[in-house]
Amino acid sequence: MDSKDFIRQMPLHAGSLVAGPTFWQRIHIDVPLMLLLLMLTAYGLIVLFSASGQQWSTLYRQGTFFAIAYAGMLIIAQIKMQMLRRWAPWLFLIGVCMLIAIPFFGTGAKGAKRWLSIAGLPRFQPSEIMKLVVPMAVAWYLAHRTLPPRFKYVCIAMILIFLPAGLIAIQPDLGTAILIASSGLFVLLLAGLSWRYVLAALTLLGASAYPVWVYMLHDYQKGRILTLINPESDKLGSGWNIMQSKTAIGSGGLEGKGWLEGTQSQLNFLPESHTDFIIAVLAEEFGLVGVLILLAIYLCIIARGLMIGLQAQDSFNRLVAGSITLTFFVYVFVNMGMVSGLLPVVGVPLPLVSQGGTSIVTLMAGFGILMAISTESKRITR
């Protein structure tokens, strides 16, 4: 486009209208996304207060995490995507190394080692970082190839996805592994992976279901899947959680029992009410209306994320933005599906509502990347 043509169309004295970036653009903030996130944060804190048994201390902790997370998001939003793209392979390598180190140096609870302590750094979960690093690494790999990717590239991308996902799955942390695998696969799909591969993969998946069931799943993981099929079979064991959460959700009805009035959650019948099962508290106290409001906020965030992806100018940005947004949706769907008894219980929190600092920081970092991408697109448009 010739710049003279452009100028010719502009009215005189219109300079002030196209004058430089706005304040929000200057600090790299996507206003609609920011507003939606703040709404979700507020809603989440209200529910968490009730779910934690009305403990202010829990609320303060979560608030602190949010403060850190928002700060982190702002910082990441300032990073140039070009830089992130250059770091992606190195971050990936470091991440994989840490995952390999976990069985030897890691710590954890309930038979699952997920944490790594490195001197001078706070204890952290390498798997959390990988949630962002894996899609970036796959996007980095695919972005400078011709798309749709050829078979060879697909194979290498698959290694980039399933090496970390596999390492995480054997920790074992099935929930995170699923999230990471899907974030990587989303990149592949968005890059234009041929449907033939998708079909072949699905067939392979079906065929491997049996060996996976027999050799790879831990007993508690099998139990969770069996429970899903028939929750009545184990009322006091793994079925208990699902029975109680379904009871909480169902008893909430259309309008809910009222804030702090949910008997299932306030009287401790609902296990894990402030972490993975928090949607049950929301459903019980705010009813279907509350659930729909939450879904609406999520939907708007996802829509905004996809829009940012669409506006992105370069493959890497596009792929990363799309993957982050779609993974966010996976969070929502898996969590709400498992709590309502549609899916087996895997440890996936309700994004930005469940208690837990690590997942909040990671999610907000993802949104920071989205904002960086959005800022870049706007600059280029201008």
Partner: protein, 623 residues
């Protein structure tokens, strides 16, 4: 970007757009699945889950009613409810039962026997119900438990009302006692009404009037959290407390009777029953030795129980109702009445008493009791009056022979002999008034005339309970109106109507007077067998002594009190009523193995007469 790669940006963004569009469709449809799922749970199945969540939190708890109190006729408490603190364990909430128990043993004194009992109680408990381990905790023990509460999940201190019998031994057989519901009773009782109750009447009035005293259970809907802790009461139906009952028993008279019967050494065995001839109300009813009913309320220890059970004195045995004794001479007035009524004798007819009696065509001599003391019997002309006053056996051998077994049985039955009295107490014995039929059924042999003679002086097969003797005496006192004996006077202040068991009509009403005159002179004449108790009395009495053989004495053998082992000695008996003109109290006394009725049993009756009548007479005088 490496320059060697040629990228088709337009194609790429077109693919990307297509894929995002597809993703959006999938996202929207999956969100639709979620909305559908939540709508299904929250709208379609709302009612089911609402019920389920209520069932989670709302529990029905029973509120046991307070047991009714038992008063004597002047309002003195004979059975009360005292607050008591009990240590209970809820098995479902105890993490490690053996560990908790050993910790409790370290904190308080909990004996192994108590733990054994506790394990036994576990079997008959309902789910989530606390099972008691220790009763009657002291303040100090409660404080200790409170301090260590955090180490003892599922351990609770419960305040409950526990039955207490302030008079102890005095009313053990009559009021009875309550005890913890056992497995057998658990099957019998109404599970709803007894949902919160732990005690049930085991013997005596507590058993007889169990339903009345127990009341109606109440209910509470309570909200509990997941750990079963009660947070608040949502709804409450109050229990209906058990009825308070008042007895005819006069605890002062009972006390006098009890100590008099126990005697100076405090070891005498016997029974005393005093009833009001007008109403049948039981004024005092004592069986010695007795026991402390309070031991039974929360389970008696094995040691204490075997001591009671194995004692030769049989303290658990209620002699007044279950003790069956030969009545001896105390039945003579009734048989005299029978003679008059059947026309066998007249008040004027006399016999010759050589000191023994012999059936026609029989060598065997039936001795009079005087034979052991002196020869010559009661004299050449003994009439009914003298026969009663001096308790002439020969007269009654003759009378019985002439009356015959059938008449004796028929007439004696009218006085309640050999029949259940249907008193409102538990486990009453029937006694035995023999008949031809009975002999055939039990011995497969006919009735022999000699057996009639033994019967004439209240020996042989005949057996009576002290209660039956008191009733028959009261029937004489009221001249033929036999009342059904009763302990219960009123329920919640409502007086119960007396029940007439039988009205005896004689051919000649004058016969009552003749007999009663004889009984009067047993006490108030120089030759009366109980003359010593008449001394210094402010009122006139009527009575009859008895001395009942425990072992038979062979023909020609001399009876020597010294030689006979203590437990084979004669029982001392006395029946009587007072005041003579307007009988207010009729008594039967038996002192086991004490010897003569006149010297051993009659003085006890006098004390009880005094205790009951003197305050009343004083009151009448004031008026």
């Amino acid at each position: 970007m490496p320059a060697s790669i040629l990228k088709d940006t337009f194609l790429e963004s077109r693919i990307y757009f297509g894929r995002l569009l597809l993703a959006s469709v999938i996202i929207l449809s999956l969100l639709g699945v979620l909305v559908g799922r939540y709508s299904y749970l929250q709208i379609t199945q709302h009612d089911i889950y609402k019920t389920q969540s209520d069932r989670n939190r709302v529990h029905v708890q029973s509120v046991p009613p307070t047991r009714g109190l038992i008063y004597d006729r002047y309002g003195k408490l004979l059975a009360e409810n005292q607050p008591s603190y009990t240590l209970t364990l809820v098995k479902e909430r105890v993490k490690d039962l053996p560990q908790s128990l050993s910790l409790l043993q370290a904190l308080l004194t909990v004996s192994d026997a108590e733990i054994e009992k506790f394990n036994k109680r576990q079997r008959s408990r309902r789910p989530f119900e606390g099972v008691p381990l220790r009763f009657r905790l002291s303040e100090e023990e409660i404080a200790l438990l409170a301090v260590n509460r955090y180490r003892l999940p599922g351990v609770e201190v419960k305040a409950e009302l526990v039955r207490n019998y302030p008079y102890g031994e005095l009313f053990a057989h009559t009021v009875g006692y309550v005890g913890r519901i056992n497995e057998r009773e658990q099957k019998r009782i109404d599970p709803v009404n007894y949902a919160g109750s732990h005690h049930i009447g085991k013997i005596g009035l507590e058993k007889k009037y169990q339903e009345l005293l127990h009341g109606q259970v109440g209910f509470e809907n309570v909200e509990t959290d997941a750990r079963g802790r009660v947070l608040r009461v949502l709804e409450r139906t109050d229990p209906v407390p058990g009825a308070d009952i008042q007895l005819f028993i006069d605890s002062k008279v009972q006390e006098v009777a009890y100590s008099a019967l126990l005697g100076a050494d405090g070891h005498s065995r016997g029974s005393l029953v005093a009833i009001d001839p007008k109403t049948g109300g039981v004024i005092a009813i004592v069986s010695t030795p007795s026991f402390n009913p309070n031991y039974f309320v929360n389970g008696i220890s094995n040691k204490n129980y075997s001591a009671l059970r194995d004692s030769l004195d049989l303290p658990l045995f209620n002699r007044s109702l279950q003790g069956q004794y030969p009545p001896g001479s105390t039945v003579k007035p009734i048989f005299g009445l029978a003679g008059l009524d059947y026309g066998t004798i007249t008040p004027q007819s006399v016999i010759y008493d050589p000191g023994w009696y012999r059936l026609p065509n029989d060598e065997r001599r039936y001795r009079d009791w005087t034979w052991a003391v002196r020869r010559g019997g009661h004299g050449k002309k003994v009439d009914l009056h003298q026969a009663i006053v001096e308790s002439c056996d020969t007269y009654f051998y003759d009378l019985a022979y002439k009356l015959g077994i059938d008449n004796i049985h028929e007439f004696g039955s009218k006085f309640g002999l050999g029949k259940l009295s249907h008193i409102d107490l538990t486990s009453e014995s029937k006694g035995l008034l023999p008949s031809r039929q009975w002999k055939r059924d039990n011995y497969r042999s006919p009735w022999f005339p000699g057996e009639t003679l033994s019967l004439g002086i209240g020996q042989g097969y005949m057996l009576t309970t002290p209660l039956q003797l008191a009733i028959s005496t009261a029937t004489i006192a009221s001249r033929g109106i036999r009342m059904q004996p009763r302990v219960l006077k009123s329920i919640n202040g409502e007086e119960q109507e007396p029940v007439v068991a039988e009205v005896i009509e004689l051919q000649d009403e004058q016969s009552w007077q003749v007999t009663i005159d004889g009984m009067r002179d047993v006490i108030h004449s120089i030759k009366g067998t109980a003359r010593r108790i008449g001394k210094g009395a402010q009122y006139k009495m009527a009575g009859k002594t008895g001395t009942a053989q425990v072992v038979g004495i062979k023909q020609g053998e001399k009876y020597d009190e010294e030689m006979v082992a203590i437990r084979n000695r004669d029982h001392a008996l006395f029946v009587g009523f007072a005041p003579l003109e307007n009988p207010q109290i009729a008594i039967a006394v038996i002192v086991e193995n004490a010897g003569h009725g006149g010297s051993k049993a009659a003085p006890i009756a006098r004390k009880v007469f005094d205790a009951y009548l003197l305050p009343r007479l004083a009151k009448d005088e004031k008026k």
